[in-house]
């Protein structure tokens, strides 16, 4: 059973000065999968996300989306001597895209420490994420050309539908930061979905949620995956959530991949227990 590949991260190493934050990480996400990325604090999970979304250019390695390389790099300049990772010389090209370009290609994300637009309403927060698909130029948009009006109306309708799905339509005109914490997390997911992604990266979506909210979140993620025809890669600390919905799990420790497999395999893996689960439970 070979599924269509969506994301392929190959041999990513991210080194800051002398510190190797992500060490030779390779992972794959196939169409329709929900994949977990776990590991103790400081293992390099968020750094891996930042590499995939273009916030950081990796020191070495490549990222491919739908079989097309979107990011590729190898040690350059001072890093040539400093480089401590593996696979030196395997990657020859340099390709670096800014985060907005990668989002346009279909990768959307949420943030570990919620990053909503503080001065804007819930509705506007979602509308902003649709701005990148706007076809009318700045003159058309300012002077309200026919096309711009149609696009704006369409955007508003789509945004309303999204808010309805997340049960946020009553809070439409509230300031985003005035929402309770759980709803802010939902709004972040709604905003990410507004960019019409193929791959959704969730950075600790269940952080700070109680067991009941976590259970709701699990159902929500599965529903999103089915309705929007997505693949999901999530960082999560709640084992209940990770073991409950992830089809495969990658475990990071000190930047390096120590295990991968389905939830049962991970739960019984001695290295994982040593590094992570043994401490947690």
């Amino acid at each position: 059973m070979s599924k269509e590949n969506v994301l392929r991260v190959s041999d990513i190493t991210m080194q800051f000065g002398g510190v190797v934050a992500v060490d030779d990480l390779s992972l794959e996400v196939n169409k329709g999968e929900i994949i977990g990325l776990i590991g103790p604090n400081g293992a390099g999970k968020t750094t891996a996300f930042n590499v995939i979304t273009g916030v950081y250019a990796p020191t070495n390695g490549a990222v491919a989306l739908n079989g097309e390389v979107i990011v590729e790099n190898h040690p350059q300049g001072k890093m040539k001597n400093l480089y401590k990772g593996k696979n030196d010389g395997k990657y020859k090209d340099v390709k670096v895209l800014t985060p907005d370009k990668i989002t346009k290609l279909g990768v959307a994300r949420t943030f570990q420490n919620i990053r909503l637009y503080k001065g804007m309403t819930v509705f506007e927060n979602v509308l902003v994420a649709m701005h990148m698909n706007l076809e009318s130029g700045i003159f058309g948009a300012t002077f309200r050309s026919g096309k711009a009006k149609r696009e704006e109306a369409q955007m508003r309708e789509d945004a309303m539908n999204l808010l309805r799905m997340f049960d946020l339509e009553k809070n439409k005109d509230d300031l985003a930061t005035s929402l309770p914490y759980g709803k802010q997390r939902h709004l972040e997911i709604a905003r990410a979905l507004a960019t019409k992604p193929k791959l959704l990266l969730l950075d600790e979506p269940a952080a700070g949620m109680n067991p009941q909210e976590s259970a709701e979140l699990m159902r929500l993620v599965e529903r999103i995956r089915d309705e929007f025809d997505l693949s999901v890669l999530m960082i999560e600390h709640h084992m209940q959530v990770v073991m409950g919905i992830c089809e495969r799990i990658y475990v990071l420790d000190y930047g390096a991949l120590i295990a991968q497999g389905n939830p049962e395999e991970i739960q019984n893996n001695p290295r994982v227990i040593e590094a992570y689960l043994g401490v947690d439970d």
Binding site: V55, T103, K118, G119, V128, H131
Partner: protein
């Protein structure tokens, strides 16, 4: 019952349009009638100076707010861009016969005048077509001034907009000063007349002209802010990282905001040239930028309405209402300290008070709306009654608590002072750690 009366009610869109149109026509008609009836010798003629300069400043301040308040770019190049606009207008508007008397020390390089050419082309001076031609020429030149300013802003933006916050402010301030020095440079004398005045170009006499032009330009800025692009600007202001993650091209949008803001600043500069009837690079220093920034803050960072109100109040105070402080009279007596310049002392005190106690400005981030106005007046009686009902109780409570508060203030004063001193000395000891933290942050930002 009261609750229902206090909830906001909305007017229909059509009513709002009618109200806005009526208000605009009423203001313009009022200004026109006043202009016909107030003689220039009257002390009330100061009103027109305030309207003219206030309208021009409104436009410049609103375009500065577009950058600072809506896109979150702390840019301080406004005076430089106004200067470009003013010169771009003046240089091409001086009539050909007047050129020799204006460019006394140089050979004028630009041998034509756009308004004059159009006047002649459309029927010559004195005819209806000629007058229309002159107006057309002036408007074309104002657009030209805006475009030149926008073009130069585009070039300056290429390096400058890659910087953030304070660094952007310093770099843009520097560029503005460079622009001023270049325009005063002797080597460009045949175009800019060096450090001498440019004058004798067409100006406006009625206050309606700046009011209408500024009004139109501000309306366009408001439309922009309320469009999808405006939302993208605000997203950049609120969170750059999140904006970029949601597909907003940071550099492109910052550049757009910078160029558009400069375009309207250039038009504002051209109008300022017309208002002053002469152009000289000397007053376009960073002081002017600070003045504009001050109005942005007084009006409210992120409020167009606030910027407009702030501009008119600021100009009215500095040009008119506080003039009496300079005239050496106090309550009918001679007062030595009320000499010229005292106005500025009082003005500075007022501004310090505003910044200290009212730091969100007049409007904060709110905007004018008809709904707001109506709801304000509808709920006013209820609120006034509630206020006066509560007043005696509050006053009594205040005076009852006062002695205790004063005692507490002086009792805790020594410990608070020593606490502050400790904090300050502690900071210097920790400066090494701070440095390490900073480098970490920088790495994170990369």
């Amino acid at each position: 019952m009261t609750e229902e009366r206090l909830t906001a009610r909305c007017l229909s869109k059509k009513t709002k349009y009618i109200l806005s149109a009526a208000a605009i026509i009423a203001v313009l008609a009022l200004v026109w009638v006043l202009e016909q009836n107030i003689p220039p010798t009257s002390s009330w003629s100061m009103l027109f100076t305030v309207i003219k300069k206030g309208a021009i400043y409104s436009l410049v301040v609103v375009s500065m707010n577009l950058l600072n308040g809506f896109t979150g770019l702390f840019s301080l190049g406004q005076a430089g861009f106004m200067l470009i606009g003013a010169y771009a207008y003046a240089i091409f508007a001086i009539p050909v016969e007047a050129k020799d008397s204006v460019y006394q020390y140089y050979e004028p390089l630009i041998g034509f005048s756009v308004p004059e050419m159009l006047t002649n082309a459309m029927g010559g001076a004195g005819t209806v077509g000629g007058t229309l031609g002159e107006y057309l020429g002036v408007i074309i030149l104002m657009l030209f001034a805006g475009l030149v300013t926008a073009g130069i802003a585009f070039l300056i933006g290429l390096p400058v907009l890659r910087l953030k916050s304070d660094y952007l402010a310093i770099a843009s301030l520097g560029f503005a000063e460079i622009i001023r020095t270049i325009f005063q440079w002797d080597g460009l004398g045949s175009v800019t007349n060096g450090s001498n005045l440019l004058r004798k170009f067409p100006t406006f006499s009625s206050s309606l002209f700046p009011l209408i032009v500024s009004g139109l330009c501000i309306a366009i800025i408001v439309l922009l802010i309320n469009s999808s692009y405006g939302r993208a600007f605000k997203a950049i202001r609120d969170d750059e990282i999140a904006a970029e993650a949601m597909g907003v091209n940071l550099f492109k949008h910052k550049q757009l905001s910078f160029v558009i803001s400069s375009f309207f600043t250039g038009i504002g500069g051209a109008m300022l040239a017309m208002f002053q009837a002469t152009v000289n690079a000397t007053p376009f220093t960073s002081n002017m930028t600070y003045e504009l920034l001050l109005i942005v803050v007084i009006g409210g960072i992120g409020s167009v309405t606030g910027s407009v109100i702030g501009s008119f109040l600021f100009i009215a105070c500095s040009e008119w209402w506080l003039r009496f402080l300079d005239e050496g009279q106090f309550l009918g007596m001679d007062a030595d300290f009320m000499r010229p310049g005292f106005r500025k002392v009082v003005f500075a005190l007022i501004i310090i008070c505003i910044v200290l106690f009212y730091s969100r400005g007049i409007m904060g981030t709110r905007e004018f709306s008809w709904d707001g106005v109506f709801n304000f007046f509808r709920t006013l009686p209820t609120r006034l009654v509630a206020f006066f009902k509560a007043l005696p109780g509050r006053l009594v409570a205040f005076f009852k608590a006062l002695p205790g508060r004063i005692v507490k203030f002086f009792k805790t004063l020594p410990s608070r002072i020593s606490g502050k001193v400790k904090k300050l000395t502690g900071k210097t000891k920790n400066s090494k750690n701070n440095h390490i933290n900073n480098t970490d942050k920088r790495e994170e930002a990369q």
